[in-house]
């Protein structure tokens, strides 16, 4: 099986709505995403959050599965370094994130499509900004498709 490639952005419809999966840890990043809501910060509706207890729970296989199923972008968000509710699960996540980035690059998936982010419970604005930025980049890149689609 060959890796997925990106379609030429020009050949896609203008209405392409990138779909983003965000894995958020329960204690910081999910709280940050909630705070964006409590603060009524507006951001594009393209993101779907999957709550996990710790960013350290995010198996690289989940990220690959998301891309395989057609996600245009994936975010893994955890507590800031040293803030992890589980001492250092976020650092483990970061190490896996580095590995994943390299792997995805080899597979021909642009690095803008995968982000590791530290988002605190008080950073509603950061959550909104991360989503906004990724949506803008993915709109520019166009959809991610299997070569044979």
């Amino acid at each position: 099986m060959s890796g997925p490639v990106t379609k030429d952005a020009r050949s896609t419809e203008k209405t392409h709505e990138p779909k983003i999966v965000a894995f958020c840890c329960n204690w910081c990043s999910y709280a940050g995403a909630d705070l964006a809501g409590v603060s009524r910060l507006q951001y594009p509706s393209n993101v779907r959050v999957i709550r996990v207890m710790c960013s350290g729970r995010v198996d690289p296989a989940f990220v690959l599965k998301a891309f395989e199923l057609g996600a245009d972008g994936v975010i893994v968000a955890g507590c800031h370094p040293a803030d992890c509710h589980y001492i250092n699960g976020n650092e483990k996540a970061a190490m896996r994130g580095d590995f994943l980035s390299e792997f995805l690059e080899d597979a021909g998936i642009e690095d803008q499509r995968f982000r590791m982010e530290w988002i605190a419970g008080s950073e509603g604005q950061k959550f909104a900004d991360v989503v906004k930025k990724m949506v803008a980049e993915l709109e520019r890149l166009g959809p991610l498709c299997e070569e044979d689609v």
Partner: protein
């Protein structure tokens, strides 16, 4: 023989404070009665739309508390009732009550509301401040607890329609009017709250005469989605949307004319919040608030003020006391004159909101009579700085606004504090009168086809105004496994909980999905409901369609609806894979660790010890006392040193307290009920709960020549100089806000205005010849401290206001110092040559907080104070179970407030230590022994030592996870190379299922 004591408590008043006190005591093993004069518990908070400084939806955060109180097995609510009399003494009271009839048989009423639908009579709705009609048979608000209807006999015409339609046969027109009963309790907590000042009494503002003049509570109801206008801001005169709204502050407070000379404490923030929320409701709305001083003194309040002013564009007009409102009879527009600098301006507004202050509750007279209680001159309950929750009657305690106007978190802290006092008083009776909550036998759902029920919440208009809820409901019904769907105005209300239980039974549901707000606040509530319905609590899943959908995509209703459908589809897909999880019981070590031995830590330690638990009090200095050792008089003139010595003695003598001086914690391991702390000396302590009471530090000013000229001192130094009695000066200048309310530390230090008054008054009383000048930005003597501000002015203290843009200038010449200030009122530069220049230096966070926060894994605010679990309703809890905070570690506060918080932390600790077992979470990881290859990576990766390689049979080594140690983070599952570890509730299959549910549609779209 010891006096008889009763292990039950009466809480008078069921607002947020009353509910908190009741819950803390009921959770610590005491039987609680709540006596509420109204028809529902919830107090004034139930009427609010939003709360500052987080703009949380008030009903959303109070609703879980209402439900928790309403269904607590050890709380009995006696609503629509009043106190008649009391006999006995502390520990053993007999209280006579009188219940007014609802003309409804309470046990039969289901709260279905069919009666009100058919009732032909309409009257005014008191809850909505008469802005909306109510039927002659009614509940005060839809989320009322208890949800029981009442007939208003004044309106009822006795037509019999309700009786005809009531299926439950609950109507009883001929019910006897009042029923008396007597209950026995060991202690009483008074939390009757406050009344809002009737602003129509200030006739110059035209409330009740001019249609477009509203009180703050009326405006709050208007902002509320469940209010009379469903959240639409309109002018009552013509229904038009206003373009300009003025808020007039201090209506009925800080006002000698009404004899309410105190400050009501919360109105400045409430007006800012209303102005901000108003702007969110009406695009382009202009809001102007006319302040005397901006009193944004609480935790992160100043930042809220700055955001309101700078980001939202709320016009903040200081130095203003509006004298009157005039109406143009043609347009019903309203005209105000105000000061802008030296000029008087006139401006026309479409709507005027009066920030009406707090009054003592109506029942205050009755309570004083029944209990023989001392009231202060305004009619609020009299308390002392050093005993902030005690009344003049032993065994009777007070909390909330009845002891003085205050905001919700301060009320909640005081409520827990009162509960702490009661728990200590009645400690021998703990557990004697309570019953344990019995849940029905859990149904075995393993191997059964999923039968999923989906409940979609409108959340008033919070969700419903953006997301097309009926469409989501229709869609949910088509999803695999879903056999039942419904939508609710508020899925969290008590009637919906009842409904969920009925539906689970009727439709034989084995999984429940709620699409509403966020699991972070509401999952426990719904989990409890499914538990009551005979399902394991882990058979519940939530879709966050508010915080992460309707609130953040307000302008894209179609996309938000699509997203809501996706989120529901994902939740349903996961729900189908959910399993029942057991919750092991973990024993609790009945001891507490208190970190910090200042006033707060000492107070908490003593109260916990008195409740019968062991206490380790750890202080890094060589003696206890902290800042308290340097304080010689409080605002009310009390010398705290005597109390301090008493406290020190009691601590030294108490058999339950072990004090560890010159010590700090170097390692803290474990979890609620089972912590193990290693001190610097290597000593190990085992304990079940932790209180953080590390205090704060006084800022070392770099401004105004501090440290360079001996005449420049800090406020605490001045206090000590005054205590030494050899103080002499012709002129004293006090500069406020040194090191606070600036770019680096934006928030207000709260205590400095009061300490300035205390010292200034002491100088003027003892040395009347000395001139005292206070250079300030806003005077923030909130509550009854306002009296001291007035008194200081009467004594001749001179107040000069400066603009932070041109702060006072200090120069030294020939050993003298000269202070220059550009005074804002007189618009002139004033020059003073003081003998002492006193800097009111900010309260800064303890620099040790950072390390401690990392040890405990708890968060700090941006400034470095500890950050509590919820700013409004959980002021002394951390998000991490079993860890609490109080005093200056939380934020700057006065002595009485620190003591209240310390008592509150003690009460919260009691709720943990009074239980023999804590039920552990079921979310833990398990190893499949079949797959495990004993590589040991799980052992390496786990920070809690939960997985261990064990020889399970001769020669066979496998990993096993200790459930009591496992936190369920799931890191080991990812590290496991054999894929043998599975974190329950977050299994790989479950997450993959959600991904498939989300992205399957997308795949099809691409293929088309």
């Amino acid at each position: 023989m010891a006096d008889r004591k009763v292990g039950a408590v009466l809480v008078v008043g069921g607002g947020p404070a009353g509910m908190q006190a009741a819950l803390d005591l009921a959770d610590s093993g005491f039987k609680v009665y709540i006596l509420e004069s109204g028809l529902s518990i919830g107090g004034t908070m139930a009427q609010l739309d939003k709360t500052f400084p987080t703009n949380d939806c008030s009903m959303c955060i109070i609703s879980p508390k209402l439900v928790a109180t309403g269904r607590h097995e050890n709380i009995t609510m006696i609503t629509n009732a009043e106190l008649k009399g009391i006999e006995g003494k502390t520990g053993d009271f007999k209280v006579k009550l009188s219940r007014r009839s609802r003309f409804i048989i309470e046990e039969k009423c289901t709260g279905c509301g069919v009666c009100a639908e058919h009732c032909p009579i309409e009257g005014a709705n008191a809850f909505d401040r008469d802005l909306a009609p109510a039927k002659a048979i009614y509940v005060p608000f839809p989320q009322a607890v208890p949800l029981v209807y009442t007939i208003d006999k004044g309106l009822c015409i006795g037509c019999g329609v309700c009786d005809k339609f009531c299926e439950a046969k609950a109507i009883n027109y001929s019910d006897e009017p009042d029923k008396e009963e007597v209950i026995e309790v060991g202690a009483i907590i008074l939390s009757p709250g406050y009344d809002v000042y009737d602003s129509s009494k200030k006739i110059e503002y035209g409330h009740g005469v001019f249609h477009n003049v509203l009180s703050n509570i009326e405006f709050e109801r208007m902002l509320s989605a469940s209010g009379p206008t469903e959240g639409h801001v309109i002018r009552p005169s013509d229904g038009d949307v206003p373009k300009k709204i003025a808020f007039i502050q201090c209506v009925g407070s800080r006002d000698a004319q009404t004899s309410n000379t105190y400050c009501s404490s919360y109105c400045c923030m409430a007006a800012l919040k209303q102005a901000v929320i108003g702007k969110e409701h009406v695009q382009g709305l202009d809001t102007a608030i006319f302040f005397m001083d901006t009193r944004a003194f609480g935790k992160e309040f100043e930042e809220y003020l700055m955001r309101a002013e700078n980001e939202y564009g709320v016009r903040v007009l200081r130095n203003n006391r509006i004298s009157k409102v005039e109406e143009d009879p043609e347009t019903n527009n309203l005209m105000l004159s105000y000061l802008e600098g030296p000029d008087i301006r006139e401006e026309v507004f479409d709507l005027v909101v009066l920030s009406a202050g707090a009054r003592p509750p109506e029942s205050t007279g009755n309570m004083a009579k029944v209990f023989g209680l001392d009231l202060n001159k305004f009619g609020f309950c009299e308390t002392d700085d050093l005993t902030p929750v005690s009344t003049s009657v032993p065994g009777v305690f007070v909390c909330g606004a009845f002891s003085g106007p205050k905001d919700i978190p301060d009320s909640i802290a005081q409520a827990s504090g009162a509960a702490g006092k009661v728990a200590a008083l009645l400690s021998e009776e703990r557990g004697k009168l309570v019953t344990k909550k019995e849940y029905p036998q859990e149904r075995d759902v393993s191997g059964k086809e999923p039968r999923i029920g989906v409940f979609v919440c409108h959340c008033g208009i919070n969700i419903g105004s953006v997301v097309n809820v009926p469409e989501v409901v229709e869609y949910a019904a088509t999803l695999p496994g879903v056999v039942y769907v419904e939508r609710n105005l508020y899925t969290c209300s008590q009637d919906t909980q009842k409904k969920i239980k009925e539906v689970v039974e009727k439709h034989d549901l084995n999984r429940v999905v709620v699409a509403s707000c966020t699991p972070r606040t509401h999952e426990p509530l719904f989990q409890n409901t499914v538990k009551e319905a005979g399902l394991n609590k882990y058979l519940f899943e939530m879709a966050n369609i508010r915080d992460q959908c309707s609130w953040v995509h307000r302008l894209e209703p179609v996309k938000a609806t699509e997203k809501a459908k996706d989120l529901v589809r994902m939740a349903v897909a996961k729900a189908a894979t959910l399993e029942s999880l057991p919750q092991p019981k973990i024993p609790v070590t009945p001891a507490a660790l208190i970190i910090g031995g200042g006033l707060s830590g000492m107070t908490a330690a003593l109260e916990i010890a008195k409740s019968g638990f062991e206490v380790h009090l750890v202080e890094k200095e060589k003696q206890l006392g902290g800042h308290l050792r340097r304080i010689h008089h409080t605002l009310s003139g009390v010398d705290p040193q005597e109390t301090f010595e008493q406290l020190e003695k009691e601590i030294a003598e108490h058999k339950n307290i072990k004090t560890h001086l010159n010590e700090t914690a170097s390692e803290i391991k474990g979890y609620i009920g089972n912590f193990e702390t290693t001190l610097k000396s290597g000593e190990k302590l085992k304990h079940g709960a932790i209180v953080v009471a590390t205090g704060g530090v006084e800022y070392e000013p770099v401004e105004y020549m501090f440290g360079k000229n001996p005449k420049v001192v800090r406020q605490t130094d001045l206090g000590e100089l005054l205590a030494e009695k050899d103080f002499k000066a012709d002129n004293v200048v006090i500069i406020q806000c040194v090191g606070s309310r600036n770019d680096e530390y934006p928030n207000c230090s709260r205590i400095c205005c009061s300490t300035a008054m205390a010292n200034a008054m002491k100088i003027k009383k003892e040395h009347p010849e000395t001139n005292v000048f206070v250079l300030y930005r806003d005077i923030r003597t909130y509550g009854f401290a306002e009296e001291n501000y007035n008194e200081a002015a009467r004594l001749g203290v001179i107040f000069l206001r400066y603009d932070p843009a041109s702060p006072p200038r200090v120069v030294a010449t020939n050993g003298d110092i000269v202070v220059e200030i550009d005074e804002q009122f007189i618009e002139q530069t004033v020059t003073i040559k003081p003998d002492y220049l006193v800097l009111n230096a900010a309260v800064r966070p303890n620099p040790d907080n950072k390390d401690l926060a990392q040890l405990l894994k708890v968060p700090l605010t941006k400034e470095g104070f500890f950050l509590e679990a919820h700013m409004k309703l959980r002021p002394v809890d951390f998000a991490t179970d079993g860890i609490f905070l109080c005093g200056l570690a939380h934020s700057p506060r006065l002595i009485d407030e620190s003591i209240s918080q310390a008592l509150a932390a003690a009460a919260r600790v009691n709720t943990v230590l009074s239980k023999p077992f804590i039920e552990a979470e079921g979310v833990v990881s398990v190893v499949s022994e079949e797959r495990c290859i004993a590589c040991g990576r799980c052992e390496d990766v786990c920070e809690y030592g939960a997985p261990r390689l064990e020889e399970i049979s001769p020669g066979v080594i496998k990993s096993r996870i200790n459930e009591a140690l496992c936190k369920g983070c799931g890191s080991c599952a990812v590290a496991c190379c054999a894929r043998a570890i599975s974190p329950k509730h977050f299994k790989s299959e479950q997450i993959m299922t959600m991904l498939e549910a989300l992205l399957a549609d997308k795949d099809e779209e691409v293929k088309v």
